[in-house]
Symmetry: C3
Subunit: 348 residues, 3 copies
């Protein structure tokens, strides 16, 4: 199928800048795209490719300046990345096969409640009193413990394990290998150096429109609930400890970890491999840089921190830059000491 620029522009409310009859059949990255493909440009790092790409159509931000002649047809939109996402979604709707039905062998408890238009893959395990709302997709090797609830249209990819009594909202996606509801790491130290297990009788609640990556772990609460609020996005290999709360539309990058009972506000951004101590609060809109180690609460909204231990982003960046010259700084101190000793000696 060929899609002309005019039709694509219509789909994403864009403005054609060039030949509206040029057509494409597939997508390509701007640095690799071939004739007949559509690409997009959102990251200024890739701007030079605008003039060298073989792509036939390029979606750009509406204010994109053109510094050289180019042969592609542009489609200008307010937000090129979002427009590209919209196009890909429409493409996916066309090509995705609608998987429904129940594959065998699977294990479905007699007490489970199954909605309409659901998919249950082979080797999936649906425990006692599990409830699956309409449109839910359970891929092979998924485990749902007793009393788990899954909301409408949520998708659990292969091998997701959800322990008993956890609650998943609607339109949630969880990627392969992720574990939800494992025991929190709670052990009371005893006088002889051993540990007494603290049973974890709470659960995990994942609200609507959350997406969780692969091989992530979200522990159940000791009592009450570990909560991931609606719209939050979690990447792969993330650790969320017991009784943590992650706010609405908060995004956490891969391999970050959040310790027990910490409460993260809304619209927070947490970089990859960052770590948060337990029992702290992070105000709305805060940014925690990759590999940062946050030991204290961020009480002021829209705070920005980096480093381990983490503190104010701008101050930390300056200190890190200075730190590279430490051996030279020490040399300067030594020289000063020599000069001053000299001056002091002369004075006498």
């Amino acid at each position: 199928m060929q899609f002309p620029a005019a039709q694509i522009a219509h789909l994403i409310n864009g403005k054609v800048d060039g030949d509206p009859t040029v057509a494409v059949a597939s997508f390509g990255k701007i640095e690799e795209a071939t004739d007949g493909q559509l690409a997009f440009l959102a990251n200024p790092k890739y701007e030079d490719h605008l003039y060298t790409t073989a792509a036939s159509i390029i979606i750009v931000n509406e204010n994109q300046e053109i510094r050289q002649p180019l042969k592609a047809t542009l489609i200008r939109v307010p937000d090129a990345y979002s427009a590209f996402a919209t196009l890909l979604s429409k493409y996916q709707e066309i090509v995705a096969q609608q998987t429904v039905g129940i594959q065998e062998p699977s294990y479905i408890s007699k007490t489970a409640q199954l909605g309409k238009n659901i998919f249950i893959g082979a080797f999936a395990y649906i425990g006692e009193n599990v409830s699956l709302a309409d449109g839910v997709k359970i891929f092979p090797h998924v485990f749902l413990g007793e009393n788990v609830k899954i909301g409408e249209n949520s998708v659990l990819n292969p091998g997701v394990k959800i322990y008993h009594h956890c609650v998943i909202g609607a339109n949630v996606t969880v990627h392969a290998g992720t574990v939800i509801g494992s025991d929190g790491f709670g052990f009371a130290p005893q006088a002889d150096g051993s540990f007494k297990k603290v049973p974890q009788i709470g659960n995990v609640v994942i609200e609507d429109y959350v997406e969780i990556g692969a091989n992530t772990s979200i522990d159940r609460a000791t009592i009450g609930s570990t909560i991931i609020k609606s719209g939050a996005k979690l990447d792969n290999l993330i650790q969320i400890a017991h009784n943590v709360e992650v706010g609405h539309n908060t995004a956490i990058a891969a391999q970050a970890g959040v310790s027990g009972s910490t409460k993260i506000g809304n619209n927070v951004m947490i970089g990859g491999q960052a770590g948060l101590a337990g029992h702290i609060q992070v105000a709305n809109g805060s940014k925690i840089n990759a590999q940062a180690g946050l030991g204290k609460s961020l009480k002021i909204p829209n705070s920005s921190v980096t480093g381990s231990p983490a503190y104010n982003y701008n101050q930390a960046i300056r200190s890190q830059a200075t730190a590279r010259n430490l051996p030279e700084m020490e040399k300067r101190i030594k020289e000063l000491e020599d000069l001053v000793k000299h001056l002091m000696a002369e004075k006498v």
Copy 2:
């Protein structure tokens, strides 16, 4: 069921401070508990909630001071967190359904030896010559390779994978998605830049009363055994490389990693996201802070380190504090240089 304060105090050897007839039916966190619930206070950070909580009974440390009037009945014990753990365990014993039996379909090799009162979930795979002692629970999607041995009352949660010849002790709990016995990362570099695989023919030995979190990886030894000693507690997403030894009652927090052949002593505490180099020793009772990077052995028992590279905790904390003022320190050096230059010039 309602449990009066007097009865609860009896169970945990506590002393009632308030009305002994007040009764509770469930548990709550002190900051969220409602009337009719039992809470506990162990972390001083939460002390203010003592006076505002709606909880009917609160377990506190015996020396807890009371600074304002409060309405809850207190139960005073030597260690509030441990006492709370005891209560939760007793509660769990009452409510937990005793899962036993073998669900179908499961794959059980004819040469496997099965003890009494075991549970094998659907889609579990029990390989050749596997031995399961009495009371073992194997949840769905668990894989046990040939010659694996599991000791009494151990619990393998959904999707745990244990490679051939690994040995798990008694009363061990392993959470979902954890892999035990995968190949160590051993490759001999060749002259042409490629790597030659070093076969890993050892195994993993997990001793009694060990608990391991979700999505953790413990590699088998090249030769000999990777060993996790009795009473050790490992959190989620931890990396234990080949030929590592983890000592008795050592606790390792989430996302920490230990490189090959490193030997960790007893009663060591390792914080989240900490990393240990290979071929080093860590003395008993040492503390390695979160995100620390330990490159050298800790030979003195009860050492405490932080930072990357890690060194003495107190010294590192002071240096980290000073480091925040580095740009200002550099300014002071510049000023000194100007003044001294001035003094030197005048002298001439």
Copy 3:
């Protein structure tokens, strides 16, 4: 079976130094080996064990000096570690049982193409149009989505999940719990603070002779392919984001993470828990130290960096050493300020 030193030396092109008739039946680590075992010495850290080990035969580097009398027979080779790897491989060939056949129950789509001499374990899931070349081994609980291709003699250990359209080369090994082809973390931020999902329509390509550890995650590309080139070795719990490229014979240690669209050259070494930002390049032969945080491209081949943020290895090590004395440096500045103030005052 007993293997005399002369026969072993012949297998690995070594030279016997001692009694060529001494025989061994098994392997041991040099620090633990018993009489009748073969050990090796490659890491100089373990050299003292040469004189105390009970091993009967020890493989050493050809230039290994002997400082004390020893009782073991030595076999001298150019590279002791490689020779040991060769021996273990030959041993494994002898003892490994050749698993072939299809265990039941398994799920094999009718449209799947199966090569000769393959193994498919119980509870494995082979989706539509999957193709398995000759000699492939699919262990229990593996999931292969539609159109996945697996090359000759590749081994997928228990619980590996490979999403649709991903391509795995020949002689690849993937360890348990690893996920290949999950969605990249792509979300376009919207004006109201929410995120719009960017569909990930690309795939993952793993070339020949790659080995990947346990519980690692490799995301599919947004468009195009995430690529792991031939001979690369990845350890456990690693994050590879969408559209990343990892070069030939590059080795990545456990818990390292690579952000989206970053291109890593050939023969690069990345230490454990290191993190790489997105959209950067790493030149061939570079070394990125454990826990380093690389924010910028390494454009010069054979660069070596450490620290977070990462920079030149030697410079960073010196700065880190100086940083430990920061409180003392500050004291010296304070003393200088006092002295200079004194000198200035006197001048007046």
